[in-house]
């Protein structure tokens, strides 16, 4: 387990691999009341169980281990099993964290996480590409037949924000968006964003965000 700050460092490190970030750990406000914890429902075995509030203690996070990473990626993207990614998972499983300890973070572990997230995102893009724009969840604004930079920056940014928000349950902050914008600019400068390469840009945006989100467990 590790503290928030070290988790953030890990995430930054991980996202630097993918040129992305967007995995802030946010604190929520208190809404639940103690009274809400009374009883286990009409048929629950915990009926009548009154538990007092726990004392506060330091929050910590741990890294997702191999049994958590892939299911998280699938669930976050709303997909069930993807045969091609099952294969990737079989190949990289041994390099993912085994127990979720902080000392398991390594270049190999991060590479394995990225391989898996790239595969899952590839599946997501292929799935959404088959749908009409309005039917898509993540990439409703994207014209897959045009180069990425032919979609306006605003539209790309909107897709990126949707990815970050869905995967991390938090809005992308200015730094995240700046990083994404820089990534796209770099790709454009190096000629990567030709008309046929829209998917590559989306894949980079998606895979980095997803890897960061799925690798953290709190």
């Amino acid at each position: 387990m590790m503290s928030h700050s070290s988790a953030r460092n890990y995430l930054l490190l991980l996202t630097s691999v993918a040129l992305l970030s967007g995995c802030g750990l946010s604190k929520n406000s208190v809404l639940l009341k103690l009274s809400s914890l009374v009883g286990g429902g009409p048929s629950g075995p915990g009926e009548g169980m009154i538990i007092p509030a726990p004392p506060s203690s330091e929050s910590v996070v741990s890294v997702a281990h191999f049994k958590q990473t892939y299911p998280s990626m699938l669930a976050l993207t709303g997909q069930t099993a993807i045969p091609a990614c099952d294969d990737v998972y079989s190949q990289v499983q041994g390099n993912l964290a085994k127990v979720g300890a902080v000392n398991e973070i390594s270049a190999t572990q991060m590479g394995a996480t990225m391989s898996l997230s790239a595969c899952v995102c590839d599946g997501l893009i292929k799935k959404e590409k088959l749908l009409s724009g309005p039917s898509r969840i993540f990439f409703s604004d994207i014209n897959f037949t045009a180069g990425a930079m032919n979609s306006s920056t605003v539209l790309l940014d909107r897709s990126f924000q949707r990815l970050v928000e869905t995967f991390t349950a938090a809005p992308a902050d200015a730094n995240d968006r700046s990083d994404a914008s820089a990534l796209l600019s770099t790709m454009a400068l190096t000629g990567s964003l030709t008309v046929a390469r829209t998917e590559k840009a989306l894949l980079a945006l998606c895979a980095g965000t997803l890897a960061s989100a799925a690798a953290q467990m709190q």
Partner: protein, 630 residues
């Protein structure tokens, strides 16, 4: 119910099972990993029949794989004509064939192309028989053929190579095998039985459109996400229909009901509960321990909401549901759990979640009844467990703590795992030492008396008095099974570890049916305690230990079952479970502060009063952590 409101109008259905059978058997292809021949599922297809000359290229379903693979063909045999048949296999390498669950051929071993034949079986025309063939290939050329004959014999003798005869061409040989292969016309696939079982185990869920999903700016949405992650063990998004349902319940002040949605996810048992059990199931205490009878029973008790005290007192264990594997107990069932962990390995290979792959078996059965018995499938001589005590009498616990040694470790670990009391915390220098064994050096037989009085005695005084509970038990690491001394002949001078002290000492000390190691080094301290039976006395209920443990039942007894009952009924047992769940779910140290420990004690006490429902404990503590995080 209200919680399904979120699914209203959405596609929350379960995958419908396939109803149209195809001619042929369902072939599921795996990569092997060491001796786990069916380790990683790779491909599935309908094969018209099993008549494969794989040679050195391997199956088409596994391109590029000619070695270290396995295949399971499964489906139905529907004979068109009644008669007496004999089934046969010609394979390189190993093979097993089951008909309606019965193992007709069991030769899962490295071999060249070899014929194995079954006994004769009477089959009825038009009747559907479940048929399953398991095959693996290690290295070299391979082939797999499932044959039958009504003539009573095959062209090759049982156990002999099924190769071409002198003067026979390759083509003639292949034609011969093909003519004997069970034809596709009498075979039907298994109707995606495994996949359907898998699908039926999944929770209904769907991906909402963003405009349907709960707002991420609402704190209860984040609470629902965190609650799900803590219990199910993986992350999902607010677009998951279950998160909407959970959020609505939290809105209504019903977080426990919200938690129940998350704990319905198969991953709750497969990841969260399993990991917690795995940590205490083996000697290494790692969360990645392979599935075993200890873990399966722990998970099963949680799944079925059984009183958690049965963890230490139950006369049952959990094993593979027969729907997962179309076989009887002889190969993968109860008797197979006696001498290896392969039964549980097979559950993992099946990829069916534990939620749907475990059955409760009514009695802890299956321990070998004779000395040096080679425990094999279908072996006679297995008896019901004489002292069932939940996981304490599991094979995994025995392998971890009853192997070699003097059985003190079993006591130490039972206290550590189920009362959260490492020996350093409950050692008591004032405990009586009348039951300290003869192997503990002390004055006047030697050693340092001061050291004995101040160090050794404090641990051994309490622990040795309790270890008598395990006096009948040993674990044979070489053969891989538990031994119950009363079932074994007494030894005469050797140190095999079974039944009693050496026979030449028996008259002098009168120990009968006690494993030799209990009186290890019996000549060492001749005034030390001799274990003569499986009685135990609990001296660890005095002074600080009285508050620590709060034992409520008898402080003495006989055997593991009574020992387990004593622990399970203590005040410390539920408190300890609360600590363990807190650590697993909330990712925090339960002893980080006195306030946290005190709080967990209270949670444990309340949990005990409410019936020791382990799943409920997970759900309760997860909701508490969710609250704290806000």
């Amino acid at each position: 119910m209200a919680l399904f409101f979120a699914c209203a109008g959405l596609a929350c259905g379960i995958v419908a099972p396939s109803t149209v059978a195809e001619a042929g058997l369902t072939g599921r292809y795996y990569f092997s990993s060491g001796t786990n021949r069916l380790a990683t599922f790779r491909a599935k297809q309908i094969d018209p029949n099993v008549n494969f000359f794989f040679g050195t290229t391997g199956p088409a379903a596994l391109p590029g794989r000619s070695a270290n693979f396995g295949v399971v063909w499964q489906g139905y045999l529907v004979p068109s004509q009644a008669g007496t048949y004999r089934l046969g296999t010609c394979t390189d390498d190993g093979v097993r064939v089951f008909l309606d669950g019965e193992a007709l051929i069991d030769r899962f071993q490295d071999q060249g192309l070899t014929l194995w034949q079954s006994r004769e079986v009477a089959l009825t025309a038009g009747k559907k028989y479940k048929i399953r063939m398991e095959f693996y290939q290690g290295g070299g050329p391979s082939g797999a053929h499932l044959l039958w004959t009504t003539s009573g014999s095959f062209p090759w003798n049982d156990g002999m190579p099924c190769v071409k005869a002198d003067g026979q061409t390759d083509q003639q040989f292949e034609s011969q095998l093909t003519s004997l292969a069970i034809p596709s016309s009498v075979l039907q696939d298994d109707g995606d039985s495994l996949e359907n079982l898998q699908a039926s185990c999944e929770m209904p869920r769907t991906m909402l459109r963003p405009e349907q999903a709960p707002s991420l700016s609402h704190p209860n949405t984040k609470s629902a996400l965190q609650l799900f992650r803590r219990l199910a063990g993986y992350s999902t998004s607010h677009l998951d229909s279950r998160i909407l349902a959970m959020k609505l319940l939290i809105d209504q002040g019903k977080p426990k009901e919200a938690a129940r949605i998350a704990s319905e996810d198969p991953s709750f048992l497969d990841v969260t509960v399993r990991q917690m059990a795995a940590k205490i199931s083996t000697r290494d205490q790692v969360p990645t321990a392979p599935l075993n009878d200890f873990i399966a029973t722990y998970v099963g008790i949680t799944r079925d909401r059984i009183d958690a005290r049965k963890l230490l007192t139950g006369s049952f264990l959990y094993r593979m549901n027969r729907d997962v594997r179309w076989t009887d107990d002889s190969i993968y069932g109860l008797s197979a759990t006696v001498s290896s962990n392969r039964h549980y390995q097979e559950i993992e290979n099946s990829r069916i979640p534990l939620k749907c792959s475990l059955d409760k078996v009514p009695s802890l059965s299956a321990i070998p009844s004779t000395f040096r018995q080679k425990v094999r499938d279908k072996d006679a001589g297995l008896r019901d467990h004489p002292e069932p005590a939940g996981v304490l009498s599991s094979r995994a616990f025995a392998e971890a703590h009853l192997v070699a040694g003097t059985n003190r470790r079993a006591v130490e670990k039972a206290f550590e795992h189920f009362l959260c009391a490492p020996i350093d915390e409950w050692r008591d220098a004032n405990a009586p030492d009348e039951r300290v064994g003869r192997d503990v050096t002390r004055f006047p037989s030697g050693g340092n008396n001061l050291q004995y009085q101040t160090e050794c005695k404090s641990c051994h005084g309490g622990m040795d008095a309790l270890r008598g509970a395990f006096a009948h038990w040993n674990y044979d690491a070489d053969r891989g099974f538990m031994k119950y001394a009363p079932y074994f002949n007494r030894t005469t001078g050797n140190n095999e570890g079974e039944n009693s002290i050496r026979k030449d000492h028996e008259a002098a000390w009168g120990s009968v049916n006690v494993v030799t190691k209990m009186n290890h080094n019996i000549d060492h301290v001749d005034f030390g305690f001799t274990v003569r039976d499986n009685s135990f006395i609990n001296y660890s209920n005095e002074r600080a230990n009285r508050d620590r443990f709060g034992f409520t039942s008898n402080l003495s007894g006989k055997g593991v079952a009574e020992f387990g009952r004593m622990i399970a009924n203590s005040a410390a047992f539920p408190r300890c479970q609360a600590m363990k769940v807190f650590q697993e779910i909330c990712k925090k140290d339960p002893k980080s502060s006195p306030a946290t420990t005190e709080w967990l004690n209270e949670v444990g006490d309340i949990w005990a009063r409410n019936g020791y429902d382990m799943r409920d404990l997970f759900e309760t503590i997860a909701t508490q952590c969710m609250q704290e995080a806000q």
